[in-house]
Each structure stands twice: as C-alpha cells, then as structure tokens.
Subunit: 410 residues, 2 copies
C-alpha cells in the first residue's frame, strides 16, 4: 500500500490566519452591522505603481505577437532582471555577485520553504522566536523539526527568544547548530539588526560551519543608513549565507508573484565523510527540476521597479505605508502601550498590557474596537503577550482604526 509521509500528521491542524478568520467570522455573525478593520494579515493594499503597470502591458502585448512571444524562460530567471538586481540591489552597496548566483522565483515563500531540500533531514535548526511559520513548518514536513509539544515547541528546533527583555536581539545559540533562520527587518516584530550584531552571527556561522538562511523580504523599508540591507554587506557572509528577497512588500507584488534568492558560489555544506559540496549547483538543479521559471510578465514588472520612475513610485508607496506606521506608533505610545518596530519595517509589535495574553487582547480589541490584529503567540512561544499590527492599510482605514482604539481605551 502507498504510505503517507506521516511527518505531515505532526503539523497542527490549525493555521494562525485561518484561526483568526474563524474568530472574525464568529464576531461578524453575532455583530452583523459592525464594520471590522483588519490591521492583521500582512498584505498590501495600494495599487501597483504606473511604471510596473506600463511594463506589464508592454509584456502582454509582446506575448500576443509571434516576434515578441516568450515561451519557457530560463528556470533561473531572465538576465534582464538579474542584471537590474545585481546593479541596483548589490553593486550599489558594494556587494559583488555573479549573475548566476541570482535565482528569480515566484515569491520568497516558495524558496524559504524549498531551500531546506538541499540539506540532510537530520541537520539541527535554530530559529529566532517569534518567527514566520513557514521556516519551521517546511522543516516539519520532512521530519527535521521533530514533534510539536503541548508548549508549542518542536522537539528538534532550537528557539532563540526575541523579547523586550533582550531588546529583540537574540543571543547566539549556546551550542552549535547546523542551520539558522534569520529575518531582518523582522516579521513579526518589526525590529532590525545592526551591522555589528549581524557580524556576530556571520562570525558564529563561519566558526561553527553553520548555514544562515537570511530572509530580507522587508529590506526596502529600512530608513536608517546604519542598518544593513543584505547580509552580504558583512565580510564572510558569501561563505555561510543564502539570502531571500521579495517584491511583495517592496512593490505590492503579493498578487504578481516575483522575488529572488541569492546562493553564492562560495557556499558549501559537507557530506558525512566531510567532503565540501557547493550548494549553488544543487539549488540550480532543484529549480531546473521542480520549477519552470517565473511568469515573463511578472519578471518584466519587476524590472520596471528599477527604472528611475519605478524607483520613485515604489518609494512613494513605501512612504505611504510608513506614514501609517508613524501614526500607529504615536497613538499607541500616547495611550501608554509599549510598542516596538515600525521604524524600519511595516510591522508594529505591541506588548499586551498587564497579564492579558495574545489571544485575549486580540478578542478584546475585536469586540471592543472592531479592529483585527495578529496574536503574537501565533508566531511562536516568545510571541505570547504581544500582538502584531501592520502598516499596510489605507490611511483612512488606519486612522479610523486608531480612532476606535483610542475611544476603546478612553
């Protein structure tokens, strides 16, 4: 008989955002006239910028002609986009990469989920806690995470707590681990890592032969010039880190599906016998076998982000969202909440007052102000006692939500 991959059965049936939706629906059924505003899920709301829209129209027109038609593209992405990335996201920051170290994808979720295929099932993994659930769940599906305990912790995962007590800067693990997931600017806490702190992690990785999977999906939101946009700004990172980028939050591509991953040629992992194996050709092989490239139209759309018009239009939208973040921070602070993030990231991490846990605060806010946030504990054990707000709403909705929260507090 065909046997199921029973690692899947270790995953809890509930999924954070599905649970939230269920509770919101329950509220709506009992309060049919209430107008609920969601500052919960991290999806953008503003339209694609004109430069992107024009580029997509041009690409669609090309595809409708025999001369301009594009069939299968390279699984690794078109050079026109890889060149734009290299020039704008890396060379401009003093980082040198080869074009074939850049892999275009259909969004960072796919690659942060798939990247673990390159390593043995029995590597140890460490994650900052709270964390984007995909990192652990994708490892759980292959058996690498072990079993999930009643305390919400996976038995084979090392959790590195990030809380107000340590300024959301995780301590280096007290033992060596094989793989570490880092995400900066951080989802969900909205906090960032300084160059000096990041150097510690790279040095730890080099010393311990550890791989870092670095998720830079929110780097476009960094305003502070001292905060690194890429782990490759740190010397030695080419030998230990894979980096994930996304256009989803940079340019509103959550429905367009395009991002990219960097796998440097210097990066290796070992066989049991200690032979060093470069990972770039393995990722190339993985992508060539199980992926058939990103939509040509989406790749042309991404290219347009790097034109002068595209850059300024994208910056404007990011500015729009960050204006929300400033208003939220200021209101929350005035109301006496302890809040974090929101300065170099579109997320605000709020300490729930007193003893109220994440879900309790979520429900009180929903019933009291008809505003939806995301319970922090959904992102991991150290998220208990926090909730996440996102800056991706419209100004009108965000302002209205803040007014309600103010009234509810008053």
């Amino acid at each position: 008989m065909a046997l199921v991959n029973d690692h899947f059965l270790k995953l809890p049936n509930n999924y954070l955002f599905a649970d939230i939706a269920k509770k919101v629906n329950a509220f709506r059924v009992t309060h049919p006239r209430a107008d609920v505003i969601s500052l919960g899920i991290g999806d953008v709301t503003q339209p694609l910028c004109p430069a992107v829209v024009e580029a997509m129209h041009r690409a669609v027109d090309e595809m409708g002609t025999r001369e301009g038609f594009h069939g299968y593209g390279p699984e690794q992405g078109y050079d026109f986009l890889r060149e734009a990335i290299l020039k704008n996201d890396f060379v401009s920051r003093g980082i040198h990469l080869d074009l074939d170290e850049i892999f275009i994808n259909d969004g960072a979720k796919s690659d942060t989920g798939n990247i673990q295929e390159l390593i043995r099932w029995d590597n140890s993994i460490a994650v900052t806690d709270p964390i984007y659930p995909v990192y652990i769940d994708s490892n759980a599906m292959i058996g690498r995470a072990g079993l999930k305990g009643s305390d919400g912790r996976w038995s084979n995962v090392i959790y590195l707590p990030c809380t107000a007590e340590n300024g959301f800067v995780p301590q280096l693990p007290d033992r060596r681990v094989d793989v570490i997931y880092l995400c900066y600017p951080n989802n969900p806490t909205g906090t960032v890592i300084s160059r000096q702190e990041l150097r510690k992690w790279v040095n730890y990785a080099l010393r311990n032969d550890t791989l870092i999977f670095y998720d830079a999906a929110y780097e476009a939101y960094i305003a502070d010039p001292d905060i690194p946009h890429s782990i490759y700004e740190i010397r030695g990172a080419r030998k230990c880190a894979i980096e994930f980028h996304s256009y989803s939050k940079t340019a509103g591509f959550t429905g367009v599906r395009c991002g990219y991953t960097i796998v440097p040629k210097d990066l290796t992992a070992a066989t049991l016998e200690g032979r060093r194996i470069p990972l770039r050709p393995l990722w190339d092989r993985r992508q060539s076998t199980k992926f058939n490239g990103t939509s040509y139209i989406s790749q042309r759309a991404a290219e347009a982000i790097y034109t002068p018009e595209g850059r300024s239009q994208v910056a404007e939208t990011i500015g729009y969202y960050m204006q929300n973040a400033r208003r939220m921070l200021s209101t929350f602070r005035r109301l006496g909440y302890r809040v974090y993030g929101g300065e170099n990231a579109p997320y605000i991490w709020l300490k729930t007052p007193g003893e109220s846990g994440s879900w309790q605060f979520f429900e009180e806010l929903l019933y009291g102000a008809n505003v939806v946030c995301t319970p922090g504990v959904g992102f991991g054990p150290s998220g208990e006692g926090y909730v996440r707000f996102t800056a991706f709403g419209s100004h009108e909705q965000t302002d209205e939500a803040l007014r309600r929260i103010e009234k509810w507090n008053g």
Copy 2:
C-alpha cells in the same frame, strides 16, 4: 557542520536539454553559416490568443487601481478559475468534482515534482519508460529512486517499457508497487491510452492500493473521441489518482505559468499502522506552506481560455500545430521511417533506422540536415533507438526542416 542532502549527488550532472544545447553549439561554432532548425525542445512558438491578451490587459489595469488591486490570492487559486475548470474540463465530460479538489498552480512541472512530498521516502515507484525526467529526478532528490546504474536505470524504480513491440502500451507491473506515474497523451512518444486500457490501470491501482500520478498535460491535443481526457472518466479513479493539467501546451502558457492539479477527497494513503489518511488536506497544507498562489494576471489569462472566443482561438492554435504533425507524419512515412504518435499529441516518436542509436541519429540529422531532434534515450533506457520530434514549430520552419530531411535522405 551543516550536512548536504547527498541524494542530490546521485543525480547525473548532465541534463538532456543542456547536452543537446552543447552539441548544437559545437555544431554552430564549426558551421557558423548554417541555419539550424530545432524540432527538439517541447516549447510552443505561436503567440497568446487575443482573448487571453485582452484578459491580461484588463487584469493589469485592475491591479493599477485601488479598487481592483489583488494582493495575496488563495494559495489554492481563485474560485473564478476553479469554477471555469470544473464546468468546462470536467462537468462537460460527466465528471463531478468539488471546487476544493482543484488546486491552481504555476505549471504542471512544479506539482509533478512536488507531489511526491506527500508520500514516505520508501514507497516503491514505477514509471513508464521512456518518461518525462522530472518524475524520477524529483524522487531521486529525496532518496526514493535509489542509485542510478551505468545502464541508466535507478535501482529503486520499476521501469515499464513502452516500445513499438508492445504498441507503446505498458504491461501492468508483475509485482505490486506503491506509486505509478502515467502520462497520456504521452510525452515523449506521442501515443495515447484507450479507455479500456486505462481501466486496467485503475483496477490494478484499486486492487493493490497503489497511487497513480496521472499527467494529462497534453489532453487538449486529443482528437479521437474514444480517448479519455481525464483519468476520472474511469470509475474508481477518484480513489486512486491525482491528475495534473497544464495550460502550457493547451494555450501557449509556457511563459505565463498556470496549470492545475486535482486531488480528490476520496484519495487516501496509509500510515505504517494502516490508518487511512486523506491526501487532499495534506496537499492543501503543503501548498499553503510552500506556495503563495499563482499570479492573478495568469489566472485571469487562464479563465479567458474558457470563454467562447478563447475556446475557438485556442482550438485554432492547436489545429495549427497538429497540421505540422500531419505533415511530419506523412513525410516521415514517405521516407520509410517508422513513426508513432502525432495524431492525438504534439509529439512524433521516430524509430531510428537500422542499428543507429538515438544520439547517433541526432548527430547525423544535425550535421546532415541542420535539424535538431531529441534523442529518445534521454527519456529513459527504452527510448534508445528512437528520437522525438515536436509539432510546435511554425509551418514555415517545419516545412523547411522536412524539405531538408527529405533532401538528406534522398
């Protein structure tokens, strides 16, 4: 130290189409004035049809407005597309599915590669031989295929030969296997399976508790009314089969990236203890964790294929390619070749004359007629002594290639 997934190291370094490209380049370097025509790689050449182009323009315009903007879509795809699929591809053939048994993807290659994640690493697999390389390679990456021998066979894969001798109809395996990959209309042989033959496979699967992964990527090319378009036309298939569909060859979407997969609710696999686990929720979980949905624009494009204009335009392009197939069949037959397929599929499978192997014929054709075909042995051991031609060229290129082959033979 981080350990590499050393199953990747068992994969041969060469990849069929890369090898072909290398040989073609070598020829071009030594024959710079020769004009090479490729009837090798299975990529389409005709533009997207007007209905699709219009739908994509509309979708792009929507994405440029605040009201029409679409962010993250459902990982499983939009209902507008799932409903069109259900109605046009299934209900019209008497097949009833629930909407949530349909999963929209970014092309069949991803899903045929990823589907094996649902089953334990130690299930036995069987493939028809020759075969689309992704089926085996994706299993090899997780260790399920075993080791590749010098005879080109993987140690844990059961090969079901399809050759002229058995009319390209594989025999049922002589022992029970856990998973069987079937692809009809077949890539690379271009042959089809009758309803009666397919029933044998479904009955085998039901009797032996075997899963069938059924690749129907070429079903739009079926002209004969007696040939099934979907395995669900066979009673009982809902209990044993997952089916993959693609718009790549149906509507020229190789650069647009959209397809779909059917995972019926009746389908289960077992735990070691014999508990039956439905696979649909597992695939749903897999997609929700490692995939973030298909581009909204690509999904609107796919929807347009099902409009009356879309249907007739798509049929016209398929007719255009199948005209190539008819000309090729007729020329090859006139020249005395034994050829198969090409009547309900865009592929023609040609027996190389005498003792010449696949690669020898490939080189002779390249140097003699400057035409590229695909060596059959690249698709598996039973492909030796065959080459594949595709009908996806333009009429002009196809006719010119046939003229040259005729001259070369004369």
